[in-house]
Amino acid sequence: MAATHVDDPRIVEFDVRTDEMLINMGPQHPSTHGVLRLVLRTDGEIVSEVEPHIGYLHRCAEKIGENLTPRQWIPYTDRMDYLAAMNMNLGWSLTVEKLLKYKLPEKARHLRVIIAEMGRIASHLVGMGAYGLDLGTFSPFLYAFREREKILDLFEEACGARLTYSYITPGGATSDLPNGWLQTCDAFLEQLLPIIQEYHALLTTNAIFVKRTAAIGVMPAEQAIDFGCTGPVLRGSGVDYDLRRDGEERYTEMYDGYAFEVIVEKDGHYPRDHEYPAVPREAVLGDCWHRFYVRMLEVIQAIDLTRQAIEKYSTASGDWGQPIKLTQKLPKGEVYLETESPRGQMGFYLVSHGDSIPYRVRARSSCFCNLSVTAELCRNCLIADIPAIVGSLDIVMGEIDR
């Protein structure tokens, strides 16, 4: 019998009304990637509104930068995006070099590519592992940390630190790579490449993973650009924009002579440089799955770039780049430079009045903009989708709060 009447007992049974409820998620929730607090307005399982509250890690690094010389500020950039500290050092160093009109030696350029791309691999590995954690699977995290550990070992060998490196400085790097480093690095890359298939099996193509991420948190390209989203979040929405190719000359000249293709879906497929699993039918361009997938492909891209860099570095002549003086006088002027850090475009703005200490320092954080879109993405989704959406943005609170 067709149930058409409201008095039908089977319908009344499901007529449950709930009140709107405000739920606090964080600031210590494990899947909010640090101290992010989300206030959810929920109606049962449906979230009607999300409001992110940030600032729990605010140290006003910009104010500190007004009291230190550029080289002294390097350790503070480490502590912004602490999962990709090398790339933060690089962004700030290039900004200072732009102001100084400093010409970097050839060898230092390739050294920086090696370090920056290794940093990208390490960062994306954590991003991948932590995303697994967000969705309730623990093992990818352990696998990711097993590989990341080896990168940290390599970094430790190069500069002595494992998390906050302060290795790349204005003028070059604090020291050259030690003997035998390149061979160890090469061996690591050799070993990492086949392992990526494991990650694809664990997450990318996993049926549950696809169910949790495909067609969830869909962000159209226009919205991504409007909110200033950058990095894998922007490319996951199908925007062909990567600063390593499209950025300012000061930054792109670092990648002169390198062959790489921007990881973005074009005409329904990704660059076919390497074998990769097919895009599942459920996935929609701009959803959580695509954002994650762009990161996975960028790991392969970074391996390729590192290999090219190792080859170029070992044949390059000259110096690895001496750091500038600790109290180097800065010329008058102001510069702004953005670099492609693993999480997006990291920009630094420096205003100098001719002293050795900058007058004003500003850090444009990529995660800050990427996070600002959460309120839009999480409208009318399920509570269980919130960690999936926030995790897919791959945020680091140290960088948002600065």
């Binding site: 104010k63 925007v239 703005y349 007058y359």
Partner: protein
């Protein structure tokens, strides 16, 4: 398009709302008057020649020297700048816009200077303007939600202003 051509196009369109420009700087910039900023931004975003569809960053810079002796030697008068960094994902070019404001509105200390919000032009501006308000003390009129973003809501003062004094204590926590 060279800098001068670009400036001429803007000047033709907006007249004296374009207050000045500097194309010798490392990053060339154009100065806009506060009342023209929204119009100019809309134009730059939508014009097929420019297509600045992405707002990268808004920064507030406070120009002030508390020491009167040192201030006399400076080649600038105290003021506050709001700097907009734009870029285009289509044309792959960048631009810097500046709005120069007095440090205090109507020169009455304690009243924050005002500039119209561009949150309606680019959504990025929403959080960035809140940050500039929070740290540099510039009010963005017409902003949908002008609150502090990084500092607590009951925080006093704007830390990136050069005359900011760090509080002695905050809710029983010693400041220094």
């Amino acid at each position: 398009m060279t800098g001068q051509d670009f400036l001429a196009t803007l000047k033709k369109q907006f007249g004296d709302k374009i207050a000045g420009a500097n194309f010798e700087a490392i990053d060339p910039w154009v100065e806009i008057t506060p009342d023209g900023i929204v119009e100019v931004c809309c134009f730059l975003r939508d014009d097929p020649n420019f297509r600045f569809n992405m707002l990268n960053c808004i920064s507030g810079v406070d120009f002030f020297e508390p020491d009167a002796k040192k201030a006399a030697k400076k080649d600038w008068a105290p003021h506050t700048e709001v700097v907009y960094h734009l870029s285009s994902t289509i044309k792959k070019h960048t631009l810097v816009l500046k709005v120069i404001l007095p440090r205090w509105k109507d020169d009455s200390p304690g009243t924050l200077p005002e500039v119209p919000s561009v949150a309606g032009v680019w959504s990025t501006a929403d959080w960035h303007e809140r940050e500039v308000f929070d740290l540099s003390g510039v009010l963005f009129t017409g902003h949908p939600d002008m609150r502090r973003i990084l500092c607590p809501e009951d925080w006093q003062g704007h830390p990136l202003r050069k005359d900011y004094e760090f509080p002695q204590e905050y809710h029983g926590i010693r400041g220094r």
